[in-house]
């Protein structure tokens, strides 16, 4: 049962980490253009200087 003392905080910590990652992703606009992200992979890079798509 002493294992619980470690395992529960670890489980909770990982959950909180996931929640923090979700909040970060939302704030940085990862969910703003879901359909766009899906079709952007199909764009060929014409010149490799501008690789920002």
């Amino acid at each position: 049962m002493t294992g619980l003392a470690f395992l529960i905080p670890i489980a909770l910590g990982m959950g909180l980490l996931g929640l923090a990652a979700f909040f970060w992703a939302m704030r940085s606009g990862q969910y703003d253009d879901m359909d766009g992200a899906a079709v952007r992979v199909l764009i060929d890079d014409e010149n490799d200087i501008e690789g920002d798509t």
Binding site: A11, L12, L19, F22, M26, D35, G36, L42, I43
Partner: protein, 707 residues
């Protein structure tokens, strides 16, 4: 290019960002084309596409205005409309709040479930108590945070002595939490924390979908009154000219209206002769000639020479503002519409609460003691809590609106789909709705040279006929001839020199009723006729509507003769020369006769009718105000999307009803268990997830509904 010479390096202050809706973007190629080609135009620094919202954010030099940017996009082949910055307002914020609540609920659900599974698989004694305490510590803040949207809405409903879906939800969640807390403190065997959190998670998922749908389409529709002039050049008594914002204009001021400028107030022309485009007010694309003494209205665009006008009505007094007010009032009646989810909960909630109460009373009479009876009553509430019901409506509507979006119909929100499904009569405007609303030139009679000259002349003018001609020619792949010394005489035409010959595009000599212009090249003359053709599939769309029991009629502000001609061609009834108020009363008469009318119209004069009809659809070419007032907007040159929207809306409501039956049926199976005290938290959790899964799966069947 016109940047001040001091700032050689790109100065951030000289660049501004403007957003446009571009409904024509359909593929990756479109994104690449816009993002790569647009910055090559002078003055444009960068362009970024948001494909989901069909928007382009353009960072550009301050000297470029919206019209210039729209033209740059048009050159790439995309029609665009600018979006007023503030019009997007609260909607994305609402979705973000819901998404955050969903994230927190998801986190809570997973962790509480982890602990609950251990309890279900046999943890007892001190371990079970510890796990219950841990669950309580996670669940309490999560419920307090994620439950806010429901608690707030339920509280509002109760305050006004009404009930909605959120009332039974809030009662269920609050009681389940309170009972679980009591069990935890007294060391009891069952805690329902995971049920409460899971319920919130599923319901929030439904709310997020609902908000997502509203945001997606609202963003795709332009801004209210965006095209009305925002300011005017007022001529002072001493002859000086000053720009004054529309809200500060006063009757009696003398205003100078430049060519191409939108009017910001109503007035009377004192000096000058010109032609104005009244499309925003009337939806008619034919320009109106005006001279001294003519009355002109805010929202009209001066196509010809500059003129001076004396203002008569300003700010909130203008004809445009009057229509906006009419619309506002007309829209009030619609706000009384009760969404299907709330109607269902009006029936459902009393049944559930009575059942729980009866269970409590029954077990008390049977002598089970108040603690045992209360646990059973709450178990009944939890098992019947409308978890799948919260998903029943939004999942179906989101899938349907996604399917419709792919076919060029933007439905504004779920309530619009519900109302569209109920309509049983349709009222169409003529110009711009049944017809394309823009003059199409007949260029078959012109040879290649004449076409080139015509395009060279036409593209230099803002006149609607010139624009229509230029469009037709560009579509035929014509390259413009290089015309020199182009000169435009308002009301007469446009002229220039080509190949040492005088060329001109002018008003035809004979004052016939038909739209036409005369192309002169040297001594030769060609007459180009224009027509505003019916949408190609009008008859088909109307017959599909009537097959589904919806009779169509025309209600137009146009003259009787052309309206009757269209009505005869389509074999439907028609009313002509109807003012916005007439249209409103015609719709009111239909409603009084027990009909639920669908209004399809585009002009600003249709605005009040669109707002007051049971449901309404506007074409993508409609005035901003009409698009704002309508429940749905369709894009393209076909009328079929109107019939399609109604068909899909009806199919959606059928699926929604099935979902309700599934959700209630599934819960009903578990109710006897709950009544006899056999429901454990495990059974509650399984019943809840399974019924939600069934509902979502059933809704997904709508994905192909728009084919």
């Amino acid at each position: 290019m016109n940047a001040p010479p001091l700032s050689i390096a790109p100065d951030k202050r000289t660049n501004v960002s403007t957003r446009f809706t571009v409904p024509g973007m359909r593929c990756a190629g479109c994104i690449a084309k816009i993002e790569r080609e647009l910055p090559k135009a002078s003055g444009i620094v960068a362009a970024r596409v948001n494909f989901s919202a069909k928007q382009v954010a353009i960072e550009h030099d301050r000297t470029l205005d919206e019209a210039g940017l729209e033209e740059a996009l048009l050159k790439l082949g995309f029609e665009a409309h600018s979006i007023a910055e503030n019009s997007l307002g609260d909607e994305p914020k609402e979705r973000k709040v819901l998404l955050r609540a969903l994230g927190v609920a998801g986190f809570g659900m997973m962790n509480v479930m982890l602990l609950s599974v251990s309890v279900w698989s046999g943890a007892d004694g001190a371990t079970r108590d510890l796990f219950h305490w841990l669950s309580a510590m996670i669940a309490m803040p999560v419920i307090a945070y994620s439950g806010r949207p429901f608690f707030a809405s339920a509280w509002m409903a109760l305050k006004y002595r009404r009930t909605n879906m959120d009332v039974p939800i809030s009662i269920g969640v609050a009681l389940a939490t309170a009972l679980s807390l009591y069990e935890t403190i007294t060391g009891g065997p069952h805690a329902y924390f995971e049920s409460a959190v899971m319920l919130l998670f599923f319901l929030l998922a439904g709310r997020v979908l609902d908000a997502e749908m509203r945001e997606r389409t609202r963003a795709g529709i332009g801004a209210l009154l965006g095209r009305m002039g925002k300011s005017s050049s007022v001529i002072g008594p001493d002859g000086s000219v000053a720009r004054i914002p529309a809200s500060d204009l006063e009757p009696g001021m003398l205003v100078l209206v430049a060519a191409g400028e939108a009017l910001a107030a109503d007035g009377e022309i004192e000096e000058g002769v010109s032609a104005i485009d009244n499309a925003m007010l009337t939806g008619e694309s034919t320009p109106v000639s005006v001279g001294v003494g003519s009355v002109v209205h805010a929202g009209a665009i001066n196509l010809g020479a500059p003129f001076r006008m004396r203002l008569t009505r300003t700010a909130d007094d203008t004809a445009l503002a009057e229509i906006a007010r009419l619309m506002d009032e007309a829209g009030q009646s619609r706000s009384h519409y009760v969404r299907i989810a709330d109607r269902a909960s009006r029936l459902y909630a009393p049944v559930v609460h009575t059942l729980a109460l009866l269970a409590f009373a029954g077990w008390m009479i049977a002598g089970a003691g108040w603690h045992q009876s209360l646990i059973i009553a709450i178990a009944v509430l939890i098992i019947t809590c409308p978890c799948a019901m919260g998903l029943a409506v939004p999942t179906a509507q989101v899938v349907a609106s996604g399917a419709l979006l792919k076919r060029g119909v933007l439905v504004k929100d779920g309530s619009a789909l519900e109302r569209l499904a109920e309509v049983n009569t349709a009222v169409f405007d003529k110009t711009g709705t049944l017809t394309l609303g823009e003059p199409r030139a007949d260029i078959a009679g012109l040879d290649d040279k004449a076409r080139g000259v015509a395009l060279g002349l036409a593209q230099a003018s803002r006149h609607p006929l010139s624009k229509g001609l230029a469009n037709s020619l560009r579509q035929a792949g014509v390259t413009a001839a290089n015309i020199e010394a182009i000169e435009e005489t308002p009301g007469e035409g446009i002229s220039g020199r080509w190949d040492n010959m005088p060329v001109a595009l002018e008003k035809p000599d004979a004052a016939s009723g038909d739209l036409a212009s005369l192309l002169r090249i040297g001594s030769k003359a060609h007459t180009i006729t224009f027509a505003d053709p019916l949408r190609s599939d009008c008859a088909q769309a109307l017959s599909e509507l009537s097959a589904s029991g919806i009779n169509a009629t025309i209600l137009s502000g146009d003259r009787a003769a052309p309206v009757q001609a269209v009505a005869n061609e389509l074999a439907i009834t028609a009313t002509a020369e109807a003012s916005p108020a007439d249209k409103l009363s015609a719709l009111a008469a239909l409603r009084d006769a027990g009909k639920l009318p669908l209004m399809v119209g585009d002009g600003l004069n249709d605005g009040p009718a669109l707002a007051s009809a049971h449901a309404s659809i506007a074409p993508g070419t409609a005035s901003d105000v009409s698009q704002q007032a309508a429940d749905a907007v369709f894009i393209g040159e076909k009328l079929m999307p109107v019939a399609l929207a109604v068909r899909v809306a009806r199919r959606t409501m059928a699926i929604v009803r099935q979902n309700f039956a599934l959700a209630i049926g599934y819960n009903a199976l578990a109710v006897p268990l709950a009544l006899f005290g056999y429901v454990t938290p495990l059974i509650a959790a399984i019943a809840m997830s399974l019924s939600s899964l069934f509902v979502v799966a059933n809704s997904l069947r709508l994905a192909g509904a728009a084919k």
